[in-house]
Amino acid sequence: MKFTGQVYKFGADIDTDAIIPARYLNTTDPAELAKHCMEDADPTFPAKVKTGDIIVADKNFGCGSSREHAPIAIKGAGVACVIATSFARIFYRNSINIGLPILECDQAYKAINEGDQVEVDLESGQITNLRTGDTYQAVPFPGFMQDIMAQGGLINYVRHKTSQ
């Protein structure tokens, strides 16, 4: 899986309340959740994010609650991939389970600026900054986890596997 998109950059310890405030958790609809995605970190984000955009953030992205609504809101907003220095454990697992591509890359966070166009190759873990031409290497996921993300999440993956 390869994507190219424009970067929105966030800092450290972006928590799940910032990603999707609990006041909006009375629904499970991805489109509804997307309308409030990242709202408490950047109120203008839901209006400006476009399909295919990429989030780049510092350490411990997605800390806090176990709400799967957090990666669902990000995916629902059209974000193609989240790159962070590190992810909080439950968010990390949830992202894979719902098919939101993520990569851990310290170097990418340091070098990429807001607004940069970047290309992400999920298979190799290579991230290319199209503004500078620089590349950054994330550790790629093993094949089966890439398959889970490519199928759009664990449930689709399991259904696909059991139907074969």
């Binding site: 310890d13 928590d15 309340d17 910032a18 405030p21 609990a22 006041r23 958790l25 009375n26 629904t27 499970t28 709202e39 408490d40 970190a41 109120p43 350490k59 411990n60 800390c63 806090g64 609650s65 176990s66 709400r67 799967e68 609504h69 669902i72 590190s86 909080a88 454990r89 439950i90 697992r93 949830n94 389970n97 719902i98 999440g153 664990l154 449930i155 399991v158 259904r159």
Partner: protein
């Protein structure tokens, strides 16, 4: 090479003699938990799996506690999804409003979480049950759905951080202060992916309510689980409650730890976490004087009987400051009843505090005490992120029930010794 208590519990549930940190294992789980926010997503995913049945009707626990009693129509619809699912699949441990309590107060109380268990819950504070010597961790709704169908979940065997608390615990210093101090020391990602094992003479003498508070906040340091070796205090807590066998595990003397940290508690003060992260901790004397608009006493962190007892001891015969609101949430119906019988509820109401039926309510900015722009709360809850309790420009400070009760009287953050 020895194993830690966390590794032993995972090894047992994976059917293995030995596991090493970093190993991936598939485990049988003892309990799968969900609430009214996370279960609806899991129920949709469960339906898509198409297995048509749950792995065990008695091992799934559903607790509508976040937006219940239903705060609005959408929440009522979500609660209805959970209720219908529970009826359709014959889930025995579904707790309707009236029996419902805050999930992490309720499960230990009802004997549904026991030593040696492997528990996953679609709620990040599932780590609370580590206080009983269980391995308990939060997961998302998809993992909950898969586990409801299969009774299994995969895990990466975590490394462990060992925390040793020694010295004489000063008056007014509680489990909440110990865990806030620890989070302040290692940071909100200091235990990311790791087990936090709480040990030492202080822990050995700590009551179960205080232990539950400590394990509850392991997630605030990024921990996969928090755990305390079971002992006589654990056994006396579980023996009347358990309705099935349980296993007692201890870490091997030669277990390997990523790091060991020691804390002398003798000179420790109650701790307050400043906005907007639980790691922003200071001793209460350095927080004294910060004015507040609201005090919340309750939550899965501090809604148990000992929490209410200490709050009542400070509020007895006193009045809540006229310019602030104080709302108290007993964690379960049983805790509520006990607090009533002991006279705490009367004390709270006479002091001018509101007392609510159990709910997570304001802790996550749901209902029952939302903050307006610019308002500031002191809460015995677990998170003080931006917008956590309401408006994105409101603030939450975290403390123990003693500090919260003392501050309720003065209207500003106050060390409890100034009131008692």
């Amino acid at each position: 090479m020895g194993m830690t208590i966390s590794q032993k519990i995972l090894a047992y549930h994976a059917g293995k003699e030995h596991v090493d940190a970093g190993e991936l294992v598939n485990c049988r789980v003892d309990v799968v938990l969900g609430n009214d926010i996370t279960s609806p997503v899991a129920i949709e995913e469960f339906a898509r799996l198409g297995t048509g049945e749950v792995f065990d009707q008695e091992r799934i626990v559903l607790v509508p506690d976040h937006f219940a009693p239903n705060k609005d129509i959408k929440s009522a619809e979500q609660a209805k999804v959970v209720r219908s699912f529970a009826r359709q699949y014959g889930i025995t441990n579904y707790f309707e409003v009236g029996q419902m309590g805050i999930e992490h107060c309720l499960l230990p109380e009802q004997g549904l979480a026991l030593p040696g268990d492997l528990i996953i819950g679609a709620d990040s504070h599932t780590c609370t049950y580590g206080a009983l010597g269980a391995f308990a961790t939060g997961v998302g709704s998809t993992d909950m759905a898969a586990a409801m169908a299969t009774g299994e979940a995969w895990f990466k065997i975590p490394e462990s951080l060992k925390f040793v608390y020694y010295g004489k615990l000063p008056r007014w210093v509680s489990g909440k202060d110990l865990i806030l101090h620890t989070i302040g020391d290692i940071g909100v990602d200091g235990a990311r992916y790791m087990s936090m094992e709480f040990t030492g003479e202080v822990i050995q003498n700590l009551s179960m309510d205080n232990r539950l508070t400590m394990a509850n906040m392991a997630i605030e340091a990024g921990g996969k689980n928090g755990i305390i070796e079971p002992d006589d205090i654990t056994l006396s807590y579980v023996k009347e409650r358990a309705q099935r066998p349980y296993n007692l595990y201890k870490s091997d003397p030669d277990a390997v730890y990523a790091e060991i940290r020691e804390y002398d508690v003798s000179k420790m003060e109650p701790v307050v976490a400043f906005p907007h992260l639980p790691e922003n901790t200071r001793p209460v004397s350095e927080a004294a004087g910060v004015s507040i608009d609201q005090v919340i006493i309750g939550s899965c962190t501090n809604g148990r009987i000992e929490d209410l007892e200490i709050a009542a001891s400070l509020l007895k015969g006193k009045k809540v400051h006229p310019e602030i609101r104080v709302i108290i949430f007993p964690g379960t119906q049983q805790i509520y009843l006990e607090a009533m019988r002991k006279g705490y509820i009367e004390t709270f109401i006479e002091a001018g505090a509101a007392v609510s039926t159990p709910t997570c309510g304001p802790c996550l900015g749901g209902h029952m005490g939302i903050l307006a722009k610019g308002e500031r709360a002191l809460a015995t809850t677990n998170r003080n992120f931006v917008g956590r309790m309401g408006h994105p420009e409101s603030e939450v400070y975290l403390s123990s029930p003693a500090v919260a009760a003392a501050s309720a009287i003065t209207g500003k953050i106050t060390p409890p010794w100034e009131i008692a």
